[in-house]
């Protein structure tokens, strides 16, 4: 029988994913890509919840339910964000954050 993957490995993956997402959000200038980076961060949290639920607290399903809600809300957030980005494109003719710098300091 194969040895089970320890929890720490999964936590390492999810933490790495979270910070890759954060790095992407800080370095990318395209709004859609920045949105994708945020989705990456949310997904890493999902992995956390599922892993904790499966390994540490298998008797109740709190973590799994939370994951379902995060996925739903992330979809709602993305819908509103993309609508805002489309409107930004109409007014600025670009979806680069560097072009939307009318207000500063």
């Amino acid at each position: 029988m194969m040895q089970e993957i320890p929890l720490t490995h999964i936590l390492f993956v999810s933490t790495a994913l979270f910070f890759i997402g954060m790095y992407g959000l800080f370095t990318r200038r395209n709004l859609i890509t920045m949105l994708m980076s945020i989705e990456l961060m949310l997904n890493s949290v999902n992995i956390n919840f599922v892993a904790f639920n499966k390994y540490l607290f298998p008797d109740n399903l709190d973590g799994l339910f939370f994951t379902l809600f995060i996925i739903t809300i992330a979809a709602a957030e993305a819908a509103v964000a993309i609508a805002i980005i489309i409107n930004l494109y109409r007014s600025h003719q670009s979806i680069d954050v560097e072009d939307a710098t009318e207000m500063k300091y």
Partner: protein, 469 residues
């Protein structure tokens, strides 16, 4: 049949009914903006009055939803603020094509805040938080053709999504170390191990983003400047107040075992928030940006009150929020009317304002005096109670620091008053006819600013229903 669910959820159900009613009005035949606005203002008034009846304590859905006297009172405060904002933005909404959509977005956000304040579970809290922020991002973009508006909405949605990702990471670690999402059970499992502390810091970061405490304040000024004035006042008063209420609930009820750690975190946030808020407010010319930084500085004072972790701390927080609703909305009310009728939003445009619009000048002046904390107005008593509650902890350094910062804040608040009353201007804002509804809202604010400070009953009542650590 069991009616407790109706009784406990009555404020939420009423608001949800109002939202659905508005949807049906939207579907129905075309009505004039005036009739819609009058109807909505009346409905919001009914909503506010209905909130004051029957105070119940209890919980629903296995403790996911709590209600008690103080939570009902907090929701009533938010209802009051929404009514005032709705009345003040009458002039702006009258000419707008999408009146109902504006109310759908803001009321949905208010519903989310109600659930957030009542939450007894991290899942419920997260749902409420998102339900209150996502519609606001759409509302920030309400001036669809304005470049600044879409920029503001973009900044709001990206920073709030980022902050909720950080908050969620904190929640997931909290779940990993305690094995539950329910507030009442989490407390028993908190032992202060490093992962829990890390999770807690992430959670506080998420909160600090929403209340725009320094160093998480960078979105605030831009979003406030770009959004329509009504949305800005909603963001600066209601959304902030709701998150502060939730924060104090969670800190006092759930994270009691970590009290010494969060005291230090709050101290650092307070010092940075007061100082940076004040220093940046000095150099602003746009009125909304100016009020954004002033509201950041006010949050710093509120955090001092929270840090006291006593009954007086919570009472002074809620009392200050009540005063802040009146004084900030009086200021935003004047800015809103001027912006809707003339399109001017800069402080330099307000030079010589007193010569043409004496009534509005006095409202604005009293509001600014209250925000600064000049004695006869309520703002003074609010700040006094916050600092006294903080001083009970014995950390006098931060109190003296805050008091010194009040001196800086006098400079910038009073320089606006000087511009209104003393400065000459060849092209002042011409005489305006303010809609009656907006006028009533401003008078309510001014009376509130003066009366809540002088009538000690208000503070005594709030003190009697609040709780400490």
């Amino acid at each position: 049949m069991n009616y407790t669910i109706l009784l406990h959820l009555r404020q939420e159900l009423l608001l949800a009914a109002l939202i659905f009613l508005l949807l049906f009005i939207k579907l129905g035949k075309d009505r004039s903006n005036e009739s819609i606005l009058n109807f909505i203002n009346l409905a919001l008034l009914v909503n506010l009055v209905a909130g004051f009846c029957c105070h119940e304590t209890g919980e629903l859905f296995n403790g996911m939803f709590n209600t008690n006297t103080i939570i009902v009172f907090e929701k009533n405060l938010l209802n009051l603020a929404v009514l005032l904002i709705s009345m003040q933005s009458y002039a702006w909404l009258k000419t707008n094509n999408n009146v109902i959509e504006f109310y759908l977005l803001t009321l949905t956000s208010l519903l989310g805040m109600f659930f957030m304040i009542s939450s007894g579970n991290l899942l419920m809290f997260y749902l409420g938080l998102e339900m209150s922020t996502i519609p606001l991002a759409a509302a920030a973009n309400f001036d669809l053709t304005k470049r600044k508006s879409s920029e503001a909405a973009m900044k709001l949605i990206l920073s709030s999504a980022f902050s909720s990702a950080i908050l969620l990471l904190g929640i997931s670690f909290l779940y990993g170390t305690t094995g539950t999402l329910s507030f009442s059970i989490i407390t028993a499992h908190l032992n202060g191990n490093p992962l829990q502390l890390f999770a807690f810091i992430l959670l506080v970061t998420g909160f600090a983003f929403k209340i725009s405490a320094v160093p998480f304040h960078l979105w605030t000024a831009d979003v406030y400047e770009g959004s329509p004035v009504a949305v800005t006042s909603f963001l600066s008063v209601i959304s902030k107040a709701a998150v502060l209420f939730t924060l104090v609930n969670i800190l006092y009820k759930v994270f009691t075992p970590l009290a010494s750690s969060w005291y230090l975190i709050l101290m650092v946030l307070t010092a940075a928030t007061i100082l940076i808020g004040n220093l940046f407010a000095l150099r602003q010319d746009n009125f909304k940006r100016f009020l954004a930084f002033s509201s950041i500085a006010q949050v710093g004072f509120i955090l001092i009150g929270i840090s006291s972790s006593s009954q007086a701390g919570m009472a002074s927080l809620i009392y200050f929020v009540l005063i802040y609703i009146f004084s900030n909305l009086a200021a935003f009310g004047v800015v809103s009317v001027v912006s809707a009728l003339t399109g001017k939003e800069n402080i330099s445009d307000f030079k010589g304002f007193y010569k043409t619009n004496p009534m509005l000048s006095w409202v604005l002046t009293i509001a600014l005096f209250s925000l600064a904390g000049v004695p006869p107005t309520a703002g003074f008593f609010g700040k006094l109670f916050l600092l006294m509650a903080g001083a009970a902890k014995g950390n006098y350094g931060i109190i003296i620091f805050a008091a010194l910062n009040m001196v800086i804040s006098f400079y910038y608040y009073l320089s606006v008053v000087k511009a209104i009353f003393m400065d000459e201007n060849s092209t002042p804002i011409e005489k305006m006819t303010v809609p009656v509804v907006s006028k009533i809202a401003m008078y309510i604010c001014v009376v509130g600013v003066i009366v809540t400070g002088l009538v000690s009953m208000v503070y005594d009542y709030i003190h009697s229903i609040s709780f400490g650590l």
